[in-house]
């Protein structure tokens, strides 16, 4: 019998498990079942957090879009207002110019 065969036989030799091994395995098995029953609650909590977070994010995005729209409207309104006021200013300048011309050429 070679050394290799001896080592193999030794490695595969039947050994008795330590005392209480079966009880430990059963205890671990029960713990594992308890952990599994706790996971659905965690999943529900995570889903709630995700839904709430998503809702807040969507709300913020919607608010931002409304603010952007208001900004665009404000810019348009101010441009139109500025344009109208500049027209008035131009007309007043023309009137003033004509008055000056009349005074210089009576």
């Amino acid at each position: 019998m070679s050394q290799f065969e001896r080592d193999l036989r030794e490695a595969l030799r039947h050994r008795e498990p330590p005392s209480g091994f079966a009880d430990k395995v059963l205890a671990r098995s029960c713990e594992s079942v308890t952990r599994h029953t706790a996971r659905p609650w965690l999943a529900v909590a995570a889903a709630l957090v995700l839904v709430m977070g998503g809702g807040i994010f969507v709300q913020q995005q919607r608010q931002h879009a409304e603010d952007e729209k208001a900004k665009e409207q404000l810019m348009v309104a101010l441009r139109i207002t500025g344009s109208k006021l500049r027209n008035v200013q131009a007309r007043l300048s023309t009137i003033q110019q004509r008055a000056v011309e009349r005074q210089s050429n009576p």
């Binding site: 404000l74 810019m75 101010l78 139109i80 207002t81 006021l85 500049r86 200013q89 007309r91 007043l92």
Partner: protein
């Protein structure tokens, strides 16, 4: 204390509503218009919009400066396909709302096919609102800017010469303010 706050809030609300012109009567013009721009920005919308304006961008920085006193901006602009699509009398109900001592005309410019009026709203002698009505042959524009103290602030030009100065002066007789092109 609560009563004083309530009365104060009611007074503020009453002042704000006095500056605001009911523009629903212009809906009839909107039906006839081929192009229209209608903008309604209340105090909170003006504020949130102003907060988004970039101070480093020239145009937006100017707008931010213009809007600093604004508490509301309401605009109607209607373009018509042909002349005579509307009558100046159509705007009478709007101008009738200005029959209050708080509203003062600071400019009335009437030319052949064009009429422009600028009115300032004053509370305790202090300018706090403006209404601009521009009636052109194919276009009508009405702008109600609330909270504005100087109309020069609304123009990118920055200065409107005598016009801007008049807006901050106390009211005088309407005849003296009339600027007709004769």
């Amino acid at each position: 204390m609560r009563k004083i706050m309530f009365v104060g809030l009611m007074l503020m609300a009453a002042t704000a509503s006095a500056q605001q012109i009911d523009m629903k009567i212009l809906d009839k013009l909107a039906e006839k218009a081929k192009g229209k721009t209608e903008i309604n920005l209340d105090s909170s919308m003006v504020k949130s919009a102003s907060d988004l304006l970039n101070q480093k961008k020239g145009d937006e920085a100017a707008a931010r400066k213009s809007a600093k006193d604004l508490t509301g901006l309401f605009l109607r602009n209607y373009e018509f396909e042909m002349e005579g699509a509307y009558k100046r009398e159509d705007l009478k109900p709007l101008l009738d709302q200005l029959n209050s001592p708080n509203w003062t005309p600071i400019l009335r410019n009437q030319e052949e096919k064009e009429q422009t009026e600028i009115w300032m709203h004053r509370t305790n002698g202090q300018a706090d609102g403006m209404l601009l009505v521009s009636m052109e042959s194919k276009e009508v524009t009405v702008i109600n800017a609330m909270g504005i103290t100087n109309i020069g602030d609304l123009s990118n030009v920055g200065q409107l010469g005598n016009l801007a100065g008049q807006a901050s002066k106390p009211p005088t007789k309407p005849e003296e303010k009339k600027a007709n092109d004769d």
